[in-house]
């Protein structure tokens, strides 16, 4: 009887999980394996893939002169936008944490950009704001600073407009930090104040350590998603990654190789290199976290 019940539960379990199991095999596992295979081939969709061995990977590091630029641009983007966004989010969350009734209103206002920020509409808006006659130049002229160059068209500022767009969307991290701040007991701060700790001490000795697990979580997810940024770079540079490849984020480069040049084998190799980089970065963040993430259960 017991056995029959258990056996039934195996079946029931698979019935419920069937969508994911099937979906995983068809839309994740099989594509990953074929992507690995394609990465060792020359494949243009028209003819069957032809085996190249490590040819694509060799080409990446010897012949491809754009990939270095793409790496440089992507790393600058990730390492500038993610920390700035998190610092901003934490700063604003701490300011709002002291507020009384209006907090809901402010929270909505700061969350709005991150709600709509990934859309094509906002990318188009950003392109116009930083254009030669856009909002930014127009606002600068009010302060007597005349600037008629497009921030998007200028190679030295183009990437920074994308970084600004990313930092502008600090709202979702801010909401997570706000929830974390609410969980810190007030008496910790009171006790510290009694002991003579000033605001700076309280921030570094109480707030930061107690928020560190949330910071770790945010840092990891945001680093991964920053690496995969595509839409704004595509829209702002009209699919080209210009000027002078300054907005050629890695995802955009991969897309161009796959769907403009139809080099599916090479694009797959690019994808695998990205997977390794994202994996290593995630690992590094987690490794380093033992030094700076504080878990309350461990005591003190």
């Amino acid at each position: 009887m017991m056995n029959r019940l258990r056996e039934n539960e195996h079946i029931t379990g698979y019935v419920f999980s069937a969508p994911f199991v099937l979906g995983f095999l068809i839309f994740t596992l099989y594509p990953i394996l074929s992507s690995l295979y394609y990465s060792f081939t020359n494949y243009n969709l028209m003819e069957a893939p032809s085996w190249l061995g490590l040819g694509n990977y060799e080409r990446m590091f010897t012949e491809d002169d754009k990939i270095g630029k793409s790496f440089q641009v992507t790393f600058t983007y990730v390492f500038a936008s993610v920390p700035l966004r998190l610092i901003f989010a934490l700063f604003v969350a701490m300011i709002l944490n002291t507020a009384t009734k209006a907090v809901g209103l402010y929270r909505s206002a700061f969350y709005l950009p991150s709600l709509i920020g990934g859309s094509v509409a906002v990318a188009i808006m950003w392109q116009q704001i930083f254009g030669d006659q856009g909002l930014v130049n127009s606002a600068l002229s009010l302060f007597g600073i005349e600037s008629s160059t497009s921030w998007i068209g200028n190679p030295s500022t183009a990437l920074w407009t994308l970084i600004a767009l990313s930092v502008w969307q600090f709202g979702s991290s801010m909401i997570i930090f706000l929830a974390g701040l609410k969980n810190i007991p007030k008496d910790y701060y009171e006790a510290a104040s009694v002991d003579g700790a000033n605001a700076v001490h309280r921030f570094f000795k109480i707030t930061l350590p107690l928020l560190s697990p949330i910071i770790l979580f945010n840092l990891t997810l945001q680093t991964i998603s920053a690496f995969l940024t595509f839409t704004p770079a595509y829209i702002i540079s009209r699919g080209e990654g210009g000027p002078l490849d300054q907005t050629l984020l890695y995802s955009l480069y991969l897309y161009r190789k796959a769907f403009s040049h139809f080099e599916m084998g090479y694009a797959s190799a690019l994808a695998w290199v990205m997977l390794v980089i994202v994996g290593v970065l995630t690992l590094l963040i987690f490794r380093s976290s033992t030094r700076w993430v504080h878990y309350e259960s461990k005591g003190d």
């Binding site: 539960e9 195996h10 079946i11 909002l135 995969l228």
Partner: protein, 277 residues
């Protein structure tokens, strides 16, 4: 805080909030300005005269396909894939959280890995696969995969199911309920808030999705709004700034409306799971 302190606080935070929302207000204001005025008084939010004609010229769309079609396409894709995503994710979440079966831990691990997996890795082979199915230039590649459970949603619903006491399942079982009965009668009514949160996020992500329509759809009459907006930046439609701003504003409207109706669920969803909104 003292009274003057409070006034200072609200002035500064309010000003900052205004700065952060200014670009969005600017977009909406520009959609109501005549074409020649948009860039001559770019800093200003107030049009000299309200110009609703931008909405009419923008709505006309491109080569005979109006924004009516684009909005209809978006709604078809978003609604069907959201229903699929939420229903299938709820089933899987219950399976992984409340039944014991061979390989359960393994599939849970697969789900967590899929959640972290960069989408770029599967984009090429999925394209090849869907091309072999004959799905290019149809909505299928944008809809069908969502009927197989979305890891983020499975995870979120699992977290929610774990807060339901197992005694409820037991009681229902003693009353003669099967696992299926427990799922429908006991669990589903209790996880409605989680299902709403998932529906909202699915709505946002599908509505904003750009790269998938860009890859799979090549006839403008099949375009969703996100892809149609891109056409304003191409060739001959260039310079219809007013129309572009008007349609961009309109495309954000469903998202903003959903936000103000379901704010509570969104804030809770983000704070409990760290979902990116």
């Amino acid at each position: 805080m003292t009274k003057s302190g409070r006034i200072l606080y609200h002035t500064l935070v309010g000003l900052f909030a205004l700065c952060m929302t200014y670009p969005i207000l600017w977009l909406a204001a520009s959609s109501l300005k005549p074409n020649h005025e948009i860039f001559t008084t770019a800093y200003s939010l107030i049009p000299n005269k309200l110009e609703f004609s931008n909405y009419a010229t923008g709505w006309k769309g491109f080569a005979g396909t109006t924004f009516g079609t684009f909005f209809k396409n978006s709604f078809i894709i978003v609604i069907i894939s959201t229903i699929g995503a939420v229903v299938s994710s709820a089933l899987v979440a219950f399976g992984l959280a409340r039944t014991r079966f061979f390989g359960q831990k393994f599939w849970f691990a697969c789900m967590m890995i899929t959640m972290m997996l960069p989408h770029d890795v599967v984009i090429v082979p999925q394209y090849v696969m869907f091309a072999n199915f004959g799905w290019i230039s149809t909505f299928k590649p944008l809809i069908v995969p969502h009927f197989f459970g979305v890891p983020f949603f499975i995870f979120l619903i699992m977290q929610f199911i774990r807060t339901i006491p197992r005694e409820l399942d037991e009681a229902a079982r003693i009353d003669g309920c099967s696992k299926y009965g427990i799922f429908i009668r006991v669990v589903v009514p209790l996880i409605v808030p989680a299902l709403i949160t998932c529906s909202i996020f699915s709505f946002y992500w599908r509505w904003d999705d750009f790269i998938n329509p860009l890859i799979y759809l090549n006839q403008p009459e099949k375009y969703p709004v996100s892809l149609a907006l891109k056409l304003f930046l191409d060739g001959e439609s260039l310079n219809n700034w007013g129309g572009m701003f008007a349609m961009a504003t309109l495309s954000l409207l469903p998202v903003v409306i959903v936000f103000f109706i379901f704010q509570k669920y969104i804030v809770e969803g983000i704070s409990t799971t760290g979902l990116k909104g």
